[in-house]
Structures are given as C-alpha cells and as structure tokens.
Symmetry: C2
C-alpha cells in the first residue's frame, strides 16, 4: 500500500552562494560572505549555503598556517559572526569553516539558525592534502532538526561516497547542504556536465532528498576550482544552476521539503525500503 | 604510496544490443538476438550484452503466462541457444532471461562464454509488478571470473541502489553488465539526460568500474521503454551511446579493463579504501 502522502509544507527558498574566498583573509571572507547572505535573504531565501572553508580559503601551505586560521566552534569569530547574521536576518546558514578542537583540526560546516547554534558537521572523507591538515570527521552523519526541516550536511569529497547520502537519508534528512570546493578533473571531456553535478543528482534521486551544493570559484595558489553550484530536487532534477565555472553567483530555488517524505515510487516500490540489506555485505 | 599501476590488458571490444523483444515470442526473440550478437561479433566484439528478459519480453499479464515462458538455467532452450552461440563465435554473452527454478521464477541474466555456462545472476531489486511474477534474487551479487576479466551483473532497478555497484566493486568486478528494460519517468524534464544514464555514470565513477547497459526499445502492452543504452568508462564518462530512445541499435566501445584496477586518485585517496566503514551504519 502506498504510504500516506505527506502534506505540503511552507515553500522554502534556498540559496547557494558561489564566491571566491581568499586564503588567510578570514575577516574579509566572512565580511564578503555576510554581504552575499544578506543579499540572498533580501530576496526571500531562508536557508543559505556557503562553500567549504568559506572563512579561511582552501590551499594551506603548512599545518601551522591551517592551525593559525582555524577556530573553535561555536565560539570562534567566524562562527559568531554567522550566528549573529542568522539571528538578525531570521535565516538558517550552513557554512564551511576550519574548526580547531583542542589539538585537532577539522574541515567542518556549522549550521546556524535564528535561535542560535544548531550544530556542526566534520567532513568524513578527506581529499588529498586535507589529510595533512585535518583529522577525519568523528561525528558521523548527523541530521539536524530545524524549524525549516531536517538538514544533513556533506562536504565536497563526501559526495563521492554514496554511503554519505544513504546514511543521511536513512537518518531522515530532507535536504543535504553541501559546502564544497570542487576541483577540476584532469580527464573531464569537453562539453560534459561536471561529474560532481552528476554524482549529487544520482544521490538525490536514489534517496529522494533535496541537495544544495555551494561551490567556490577562483584560483588559489595555483589550484583552480570548479564552480557549477546547483540545487537539486528530490527526484534528482536540477532546480537551479549549475552556476558558471568561474564567476561569483548565487543560485536560488523554491522547494517543498514534503517531497522528500515521498519515498514510494508506486504501490510496490519505495526507494529506501527496497534496499536488500539481507544481501548487502 | 600509490598502488602499483596495473599493466594494460588486451583491448576488449564490448557491445550492448538494444532491440525490441516481443512478449511471448521466445523463439523469434532468441533468433533476433542471435542475429544481432552475430553482427556485433563480426565487428570484433568479444563481450556482448542483451537486454533484460530478452527471450520473453517484459509485460506479463499473469503469473501463468510468466511461468509458461520461463525456463530452467542453463538447460532451457534460450540459454542453450546462447551457450551454443557463445561457443561458435568465441564470445561472452550476458543475456536477460526469465528463469524457472523449481516453483520459483527469477528475473535473471546468464553469463555464457566460449567454454560454456559461467553463471547466473538473479535480480535483487524487483520493480513494480515484477513483484507479482518473480522472487527476489537469492544469489547476492556474484562476480564471475572469466577469460576477459571479472564481470558483475545488475538488472534495471538494481541500478537505483548504489549498494549494488559497491558490492560488485568490492567483490572485484571490473565491468558490470546491465541487461535492462528502463521505463520512462513521468517527471523527466524535456531535454534532460535520462536519470538511468546519470545513475550508472555516478556508479561507475564512484567505484572505478566500467558499466555496459543494454536496454530495450518499443511499446509492449502499452508500456514504452527508454532505450538510451550506453557504455561507461571507469571514470564515469560515456564511451558509447546513449543510443536513441526508440530504435534498435548496437553501441560498441573498446576498453582496457586494467583501468578498473586503478582505484587510486592521488597519493592520499583511493575510491574504495576511503570508505568510512567505521561510521557507516
């Protein structure tokens, strides 16, 4: 029997902010991100996603540099700025941040709401030299219950692992916010959609969840980034974006999170219940 | 340290045969499929994939009809015909077949080689009214060691579950052959690539495996099929196809299966080893 259809919910406007943080310029990055969050909120967005490591930039030279830029969560200056902004604007912000927790550094994202700090996610799958600077995330895949709905977070290379989205969907996430710093793939054929876009569309479809990816642009210490931020609906179709590869840009879509509650495909099939957990290893 | 680079292997030409089986016309379907296999072999293909339920057609009216058309594996007439063809042509054939095993019916695929019967896979995830006719597959996700390489099989809706490809990749599959009968999605936006194509490209990329999908075309008892057969490389890029939505067509690519042995992305990352099995539920 088909599950009861979840009633529609208030329409939610979501924005992903694609911009260019500068390595080490924390104050300027937070100020620029805040301007862009303000502009998105002014158009009606209530859930706003910023890129990975939005406060610090990405390409650290040394562990010492990374450590000097990282901050405690939620009491560091970048996090406090975003909390104040979320409260002032009445929005939820998901923002990538370099987190310092005792001796450990994490590539994290904070979830800030109008009522204050909601939680932090620590990137589970570290890409390349991130392994030099950061510890692997030790918080699993939390799903945050918010006034807007159930929000999961994944960061960049996490999206290469279908397990990430499966865990979040099984945990009840309706939307996964993805602060990211996608880098180009050397073997990408000209004219093909970015593999990062394809991976997240497949994940949204396979799990019946919305996914909102905020990437950065620019070239930092020789490393170019991919842009192409996008917002994907719970069937895997692209609602907004992909943005350009190289220009700051905000992508925005209006969604009904109730659609993520509709996992039935017909009277026999359900995207989560059909899993053959009896034969998966 | 980066794993030793797997040496190249003999180039392998793969074909996926997109054609239109007719419901109930087993002899004619096997004859037509065999002609097309012959044609593909004549161009040099050594691994040839046929659609799901290639011998019987798809839209059964009743369990009795399905039962009357299904056959034992490997001793039924369709399977014997494909085994003879594989031996004669010196090729491997992966073909969808309605299998009868005692009282149970399975939506299966046989793997036939020049030396004879290699194995059978039984579809794990059943779509829609298949649940009326078939039992869920009870053989897990076998990987067949063949003279060409390590071959996994998935059938249609199996591809909606990233677990399918993960299991096969962890089991050592270098290429997954996908006999399928994809049906249109009611919500597919005009001009978008088929979600079925996107799902398999993401799976190939996330696992570093080749995927070869042979779909059917035509309309059967009111049910249209999607075509768009394709062959995907171990990075997720499309090597051949997608074929048309509605015409019989064979898509062919030449591949080096050694590429599926290269799971390292850089000196830190490996698409399988980077899985955070310590935090997946």
């Amino acid at each position: 029997m088909i599950e009861e259809i979840a009633p529609t919910r208030p329409r939610l406007q979501v924005s992903c902010i694609q911009f260019e943080p500068r390595i080490g310029a924390v104050d300027a990055n937070v100020a620029r991100a805040s301007e862009l969050v303000r502009a998105a909120a002014a158009t009606g967005s209530r859930l706003i996603v910023l890129p990975e490591l939005a406060n610090t930039g990405y390409v650290f030279d040394t562990t010492e540099e990374a450590r000097s830029l990282a901050e405690p969560v939620p009491d560091g200056p970048s996090c406090r700025a975003w909390l104040a902004l979320a409260a002032e604007l009445g929005v939820h912000i998901v923002a990538g941040i370099a987190e310092r927790a005792g001796d450990a550094l994490f590539n994290s994202a904070v979830v800030a709401g109008p009522e204050g700090f909601i939680g932090v996610y620590r990137k589970s799958h570290l890409w390349h030299r991130e392994n030099v600077f950061f510890e692997k995330g030790d918080l699993g895949f939390p799903v945050f219950e918010t006034a807007l709905g159930k929000i999961g977070v994944a960061i960049c290379y996490d999206g290469w692992f279908p397990e990430t989205f499966r865990q979040l969907a099984l945990g009840g996430a309706e939307i996964v916010c993805v602060p990211t710093n996608w880098v180009p793939m050397p073997d990408q054929p000209a004219g093909e959609a970015a593999m990062a876009n394809i991976l997240h569309r497949a994940a949204a479809h396979s799990n019946g969840i919305f996914i909102a990816c905020a990437d950065r642009v620019g070239v930092e210490r020789g490393q170019p980034f991919e842009g192409q931020s996008l917002i994907i609906d719970a069937k895997g179709w692209t609602l907004a974006g992909p943005a350009s590869k190289d220009r700051p840009e905000t992508v925005t879509a209006v969604i009904d999170l109730a659609e993520a509650g509709r996992k039935d495909l017909n009277e026999f099939n359900n995207v989560l219940r059909d899993r053959r957990t009896d034969v998966y290893g």
